[in-house]
């Protein structure tokens, strides 16, 4: 697809996502019923869970593209990996900011070393390392390879981190949607959550494509800048 095409797609997804975000905020503030036990604070769930879902999606894409990049050495794959990693970092930051806000009221503490919190925090650090490695090499090709290795090792480590942290007692609420015997969430809450998942995924896709087009333009500019010299 041409850069202009990617940008058109990006604009479309982002506008849809932003419009959806207004809808999601309206739903979660005014429409959905208040949860009995946790009260008003539970409404942050409609931002927190979609952001977590999106960050894991983004990190999955980044790790997958990194792996295939090392194999095929297609520039496009590296570009996709870096854009997805950036999106993953942004959404993981949202998760790490909204979680403690809820935790302070529901748990009485901003932070605890619960498996999902810990995993998100560590993944956040892995991808900070990803960008540090990328930017710390003189040869960009080398930076791309190093970053891909960081992403892959990070992905391999996820099950170990998860299992190890489960060794400690878990405080995090149990899943209410992805369960073998179907969701236990009341209808309106489930609807709001699903809208949230859709909206955040659209926003991620929009941002991802914008970044992808930008990376494409940047490499094109690099190429043009180098041409007269050679």
């Amino acid at each position: 697809m041409s850069t202009a095409g990617v940008r058109r797609g990006a604009t479309g997804f982002t506008l849809l996502g932003l419009a959806g975000l207004i809808g999601l905020f309206w739903m979660s503030f005014f429409w959905v019923s208040t949860e009995v036990n946790q009260g008003i604070v539970q409404r942050i769930f409609y931002v927190h869970v979609p952001a977590a879902w999106t960050s894991f999606l983004a990190i999955g894409i980044a790790a997958l593209c990194s792996g295939v990049y090392l194999w095929l050495r297609d520039e496009k794959l590296d570009r996709a990996a870096v854009c997805a990693a950036e999106g993953g970092l942004v959404f993981a930051t949202i998760v790490l900011l909204t979680g403690p806000l809820w935790g302070k009221i529901a748990w009485g503490t901003y932070w605890n070393w619960e498996p999902r919190l810990t995993l998100t925090l560590l993944l956040w650090f892995v991808f900070v390392g990803y960008f540090m490695v990328r930017n710390a090499t003189e040869d960009p090709e080398k930076g791309k390879r190093f970053a891909a290795v960081v992403a892959i090792v990070g992905a391999i480590d996820i099950p170990f981190i998860h299992l190890s942290v489960i060794w400690f007692r878990s405080l995090h609420p149990e899943p209410v949607v992805a369960k073998p015997d179907g969701p236990t969430l009341p209808g309106d809450m489930l609807a709001t959550l699903m809208v949230g998942l859709g909206v955040f995924t659209l926003l991620f896709l929009g941002l991802f494509l914008f970044r992808y087009a930008l990376e494409g333009l940047r490499s094109e500019a690099d190429l043009r800048a180098r041409r007269p010299a050679s």
Binding site: V150, V153, I156, V165
Partner: protein
């Protein structure tokens, strides 16, 4: 296969010989370990905490920090005078180079980890006697997993402009499983609990070490290719 084995042995021999002759890294790591033990001793208020209760965690922390100090310099000497190019252009497969580096580093770190164990047992008056063989096995598995990750990322950080300062940022987030399983098992064994209670931890530590070595052996070629 035997050629592969010979190649690995040749590089291990070279690295161990270099270390035996220069004693650079082993001295630094050993001194670090003993001094960390001294400092840790004064960081514990014995009126509120029993040193024995936190000793296992401190041993693993000393191992990680001290290990990073030594393993971070794995490629330093060879990178300085371009000798590593020679190793890379030799007909040895890249994964053999990685495995050899891991074995050499492991030998070094395992020696240091036994020193750490002895020093901490002395400083914190730990009763490690009955479970000593198992504690040594656990330290070996932990050292192996750590060395595999740290060697891979030492190759990465040596290739960057930031050098060794980047290494902790890359390695620490990945070490959580090692610390959880390692401290969980050694701590209980030092308190005289039976091995059955920590068998799960030890198995997971072994799986972690295996995965780290395998991942490093596969990915190392992408780090050093030029």
């Amino acid at each position: 296969m035997s050629a592969y084995f010979r190649q690995v042995c040749a590089i291990v021999k070279k690295d161990v010989l270099l270390e035996v002759r220069s004693r650079d890294r082993i001295t630094a790591m050993g001194a670090f370990a003993v001094l960390a033990g001294v400092l840790f001793n004064f960081s514990i208020d014995t009126t509120t905490t029993r040193p024995q209760d936190v000793a296992a965690g401190l041993i693993w922390m000393t191992l990680i920090f001290g290990g990073l100090l030594g393993v971070g310099r794995t490629f330093h000497l060879e990178a300085q005078d371009g000798a590593f190019q020679g190793v890379l252009t030799s007909p040895v497969p890249k994964d053999a180079i990685f495995l050899a580096k891991v074995i050499a580093n492991f030998t070094l770190l395992y020696a240091v980890s036994l020193l750490v164990l002895g020093v901490f047992a002395l400083f914190f008056s730990l009763d490690i006697g009955p479970n000593l063989p198992w504690i040594m096995v656990i330290l070996a598995l932990g050292s192996l997993g750590f060395v595999a990750l740290a060697t891979l990322f030492a190759a990465v950080s040596t290739g960057t402009t930031m050098g060794e300062t980047l290494l902790p940022v890359l390695v620490f987030p990945l070490l959580v499983p090692m610390v959880v399983f390692g401290v969980g098992s050694t701590g209980r064994l030092m308190n005289g609990r039976p091995f059955d209670e920590v068998e799960g931890n030890v198995r997971m530590l072994g799986a972690f070490a295996f995965a780290a070595v395998a991942a490093g052996a596969v990915l190392f070629r992408y780090v050093v290719e030029d």
